[in-house]
Amino acid sequence: MTMSKTTLRLAVAAGLAGLMAAGAVQARDFTISSWGGGYQDSQRKHFFKPFGDSKGIKVLEDTYLGGWAQFKAMQETGNRPWDVVQVENSELIRGCEEGLFVKLDWSRIGPKSSYIEPAVSECGLGVVVVSQLVAWNPKNAKAQPNGIADFFDLAKIPGKRGVRSDPKGTLEFALMADGVDVKDVYKVMNTKAGLDRAFAKLDTIKSQIQWWEAGAQAPEWLVSGDVVMSTAYNGRIAKANKDGHGLKMMWQNNILYVDKWVIFKGSEHVDTGYEFLKYFSDPKREAAFTNDYTYGQPNREAVKYITPEVMAALPAGDHIKDALDTGREDSVEFWLDNSDEIFERWTAWKAK
């Protein structure tokens, strides 16, 4: 029965992995955890390596792939394998409330006013500004979308649509496409009728939805012609365009995600953590990263040093005038309160 034992372990592997990740780590060098891949390669080149060189220290790296499991393991074992990590807003608020992250002393980083509003939080400093928006391939689309409403209009633009397999963001898109103002989205969604309305709007295109899990799938399908339009992250589309694919982005009512750097409370490198945050938030350094990897930057000054071609694909300036920031309080509160119940409803709805 050794094989079935393996399978059983598969079933509990996720839980175990969380525990194992917390394995004993004692005195170690300053460690930063980010999201891996080409993204982290670029961060290493522009921030991690030069920071370590300037201080004459070794900077270790690890990869974090979202979710709360690893933090829960850290809480339960008391281990702190990382000193600084890039988190999403829901984990940011949760970790801040539960006392896992340091409440930032802004005098040690820079004045709050030098950062765009969504980049400043009690326990976190913005890392990058990522936008989820509607993208399409002019070679394949039978018509071009002029607004978020067109994405939900099968009569106007028939064909498959790529949509992220997650209620977060997708329900917001549906309500905005149904005419809800960006500032009222969560007020509406907080009512039973409002949530029903979001699902009803999604029902209108459900037969043509192709769900994506990984950010790389959206540009892939747009290029291969599997879908006529897709929601996507702007950086992924920009990267495909660097490879010469000529995809287009539609900025109306795009959704912003500003991940944050946090410092672990109880880490032996809190001071180095602050120094890193200060080093990171230099506008010229941020701009150099953005010219390399097309995500927006928290420092207001950074735009001065970004090339015009990159600016055109960036969630900044006019592109975010009617964007929805998922870091704003009503958004975070709504999802912390409702994500369990909505996840079940979403799963049931998707399988119908």
Binding site: M3, V12, E97, W211, T347, A348, A351
Partner: protein
């Protein structure tokens, strides 16, 4: 008088001998145990502890009892029919104050939010203000948030007044534990787990059947091929087996997609006009899972078939059996142990599949492991993740005796 010492001597003699014997036996036994120890430790560490902890997580309910102890005690005698009195409110505010200060309130808030959406924000709002609240606490709490005037929040608190709960296990089978201990069906839009479990069992069944139909002839061919050819064939079965599951899954995406190899070939040959939908649906999941699991069917079948003497079939033929009859009555029954092993392996491994349906399936092709991963790693709801794992484990536990009946304990031989 002289006898006694002799007898005594004899007696001591036998006693020491017996003692020595016993000692040496004990030593031998200890040595045997010592040899077994690594195995036992391994089993405990990688089998008993994980399964035990999964079991524990699926019923553990420590949050409310330990983090809101005063209000838990105060609600013990509450009848559940009217809004509680000042004493209970005072206990709640004190718990909220302490919990907010020592940072446990967010955890218990999220726990209660599993059962009533919005409980988190209610408790956190109250906690933020608790330090400055003055008696009467009932009025103060209601002024802060009028939801404290609704029974559902109090009943949920009372319902979690014990350190163990059946909540997660019941939720994993679409049932809802009420505050008074009664059980109801979950609301229709929350019923996802049974449907998902049935789908998981069904996908695993279809994949097993497909592996049998495809794998049996292959195993037969390898077992009866000349040795040199058999080696090449075995290598062809094993090669993909050594490739990472993720790589094989990604390869199937390329093969099956709209502008993929299969569709291009079909269109090129003029067999179809529009590309077939082979991916992001059940078809793609069946194809790729069958391919990935095929070696688990072929190898045990091959090992059993290799041991069947060819004389048996010849004997059956010489006794007048037609090939089909000889195969069904003589050959096939002898392959049953291998078949049972192969089917069980494929079925059980298929039940735990996660990444392949996630990348190749559509919205209605996700299996139970997808949900388990979601709860275990993303939301860290280990209670529900544990309960779902227990349900899956129970399904496999039911299968094992069935396998025993067909194959016998020694039926599984791998290679």
């Amino acid at each position: 008088m002289t006898i006694a010492p002799v007898a005594d001597d004899a007696l001591t003699g036998t006693t020491t001998l017996r003692l020595r014997l016993r000692r040496s036996e004990r030593r031998r036994r200890l040595r045997a145990y010592a040899l077994m120890a690594p195995l036992v430790l391994f089993l405990v560490a990688f089998f008993a502890v994980p399964i035990g902890s999964v079991l524990y997580f699926s019923v553990a309910n420590p949050e409310v009892v330990t983090m809101l102890p005063r209000v838990t005690a105060a609600l013990r005698d509450w009848d559940g029919e009217t809004i509680p009195d000042e004493a209970v409110f005072a206990a709640l505010i004190e718990d909220a104050r302490v919990g907010y200060a020592d940072r446990t309130l967010p955890k218990v808030s999220l726990r209660l939010n599993y059962e009533v959406s919005g409980f988190r924000s209610l408790l956190m709002r109250t906690g933020r203000k608790a330090k400055r609240m003055k008696p009467p606490y009932k009025e103060a709490a209601l002024a802060r948030d009028e939801r404290w005037g609704e029974l559902i929040y109090w009943r949920t608190l009372k319902g979690n007044g014990a350190p163990v709960t059946a909540h997660y296990l019941l939720q994993a089978v679409d049932l809802d534990l009420q505050w008074d201990g009664s059980v109801q069906r979950a609301r229709p839009e929350q019923r996802i787990y049974i449907q998902n479990l049935l789908r998981t069992l069904w996908i695993a069944f279809v994949v097993t059947l497909a592996c049998f139909l495809l794998g049996y002839p292959v195993a037969y061919m390898i077992a009866n091929a000349p040795p040199r050819l058999a080696k090449v064939l075995i290598l062809m079965v094993l090669l993909p087996f050594w490739t990472s599951l993720l790589v094989r899954t990604a390869a199937w995406v390329i093969v099956l997609q709209k502008a993929g190899i299969v569709n291009d070939a079909l269109i090129g040959l003029g067999l179809v006009e529009e590309p077939l939908a082979l991916i992001f649906n059940r078809t793609g999941v069946y194809i790729s899972m069958t391919h990935i699991l095929l070696p688990f069917m072929i190898l045990p079948l091959y090992s059993v078939m290799k041991g069947i003497p060819p004389e048996h079939m010849r004997a059956a033929a010489s006794l007048g059996a037609a090939p089909a009859r000889a195969f069904l009555r003589v050959y096939f029954p002898q392959t049953l142990p291998g078949l049972a092993a192969g089917c069980l392996l494929v079925y059980v491994i298929a039940l735990g599949f996660y990444i392949t349906p996630a990348l190749i399936g559509g919205g209605s092709d996700q299996m139970l492991a997808y949900l388990i991963a979601e709860f275990a790693t993303n939301t860290a709801n280990w209670g529900l993740a544990g309960a779902l794992a227990i349900v899956l484990l129970a399904c496999i536990a039911v299968l094992y005796p069935l396998y025993h009946r067909f194959a016998g304990a020694g039926g599984m031989k791998l290679g």
